[in-house]
Symmetry: D2
Subunit: 141 residues, 4 copies
């Protein structure tokens, strides 16, 4: 039986109905089913700042972006609705300055029970600020 291809843009619009996304809005810019990749633009909000009146986006915002982007890249790669996160690891490489961010997610394993994806987050100046990897329970999706 051939599996029907999900409409990825529609799938993302469904994800955007998540209450948490009403806070952390991400625009899907591009995706590739074969490569298992997805790219997002994340418009800046004052609420993402670590400290009032200073440059620097909070690490929790970066971690959240990485979790969401990794999960969605796997959904794209595996033609599925999304998966529970098993674990998540983030390296903070430099302060992300205030402004729109870009997240580039890439599938590195798409197994029957485990999927793994990695994400790079760039700030408005185009600097790589954080990288992360997540493992996802693909049997449960």
């Amino acid at each position: 039986m051939e599996e029907k291809e999900l409409d990825i843009e529609r799938l993302w619009r469904g994800w955007l109905r998540s209450p948490f996304h009403s806070f952390l809005h991400m625009d899907l810019e591009a995706f590739d089913r074969e490569a298992g990749t997805a790219t997002f633009n994340i418009p800046f909000k004052e609420a993402y700042a670590r400290t009032a009146g200073e440059e620097g986006i909070h690490g929790g915002v970066l971690a959240s972006i990485i979790d969401i982007a990794a999960d969605f890249a796997l959904a794209v790669a595996m033609n599925r609705m999304g998966f529970p996160t098993i674990d998540l690891r983030i390296d903070y490489l430099r302060m992300a300055s205030n402004g729109d961010m870009t997240a580039k997610a890439r599938t590195i394993k798409k197994g029957r029970t485990i999927g793994v994806a990695e994400v790079e987050v760039y700030d408005a100046k185009g600097r790589l600020c954080a990288v992360g990897r997540g493992a996802y329970a693909t049997a449960a999706g």
Copy 2:
């Protein structure tokens, strides 16, 4: 020269002025300077939910709580204002049901350049839902 003890509750009130905390509010419930621990209550908000109309707090919210609680436990342990996160790792053990959460953070290393702390997050039913560890740059704080 003896270092003056920071007023920890006042320090936390300063952290609460972070714009990100206007979204993710955490109440400091207890702390212990000797043990390097801090406990928080996190009142539930609809915006934390993963999916509209369903149980389940978003993994990004749990990751953020862990980052903040770990960092603050180190600040308590080291009598300092807080530290940049080097990296963060979270294990998601089970879905956190909608409701107030508790985070218990504990310092496990307080070095001159590197600090490490770990956090347990419990949901409103008292179930351990996520655990995490973070490394922090204590030379930079």
Copy 3:
């Protein structure tokens, strides 16, 4: 159908036939099926040292001990033969001095597809030198 209890000490003797264990020998000291714990003694060998003629056990040895001990704690908890590692994370807290080590492993999740365990490694002076967590594919064991 009731599942038969594995003979845990015999199971460990089987693990010791692993070629890698001919290098990295660990003695099972204690275990608890209910708690999902296992404790090991690791007799010192010169080959574990990081630098010839100096104190300090190599981080790769500590990582290996953590992987093995975590996996076995899950096997004890779940009455199974052992599981493939999904991912492993280690925090190095201080140099482990040359001498016998102790590893204490504890199950923190025993799910149908995913298990998680954590390990503390103490050096011969009784100091906590490394902690780690691993996720394991329990569906595959």
Copy 4:
């Protein structure tokens, strides 16, 4: 004052005198100071196997390779002797079959106090089997 360039091949020969390297021998195949990269060949030994008489290299061996390769890539990038590992994270993507392995390490941050590098490990069939990242204390090297 200009810093003198280390002789990288000589530096690696020094690392090979580590007792742990008498067990886990790695040949430095290539390096690039500008890019902060290093590539290694790891000749197979029976002692690396997970299970006697079966395919599959032990996860502890892969973790050790990743720690060593990441540390050395940072040494190359920063023209230094090597650094203590702060923490290490490994994703196991598939079983590494018995045979020579290749490790490709790449610096992703070279800060004054913290360095981060990542490593890919390929088995003899050229398949990506494990990826990992480590944080290193560059102030201490």
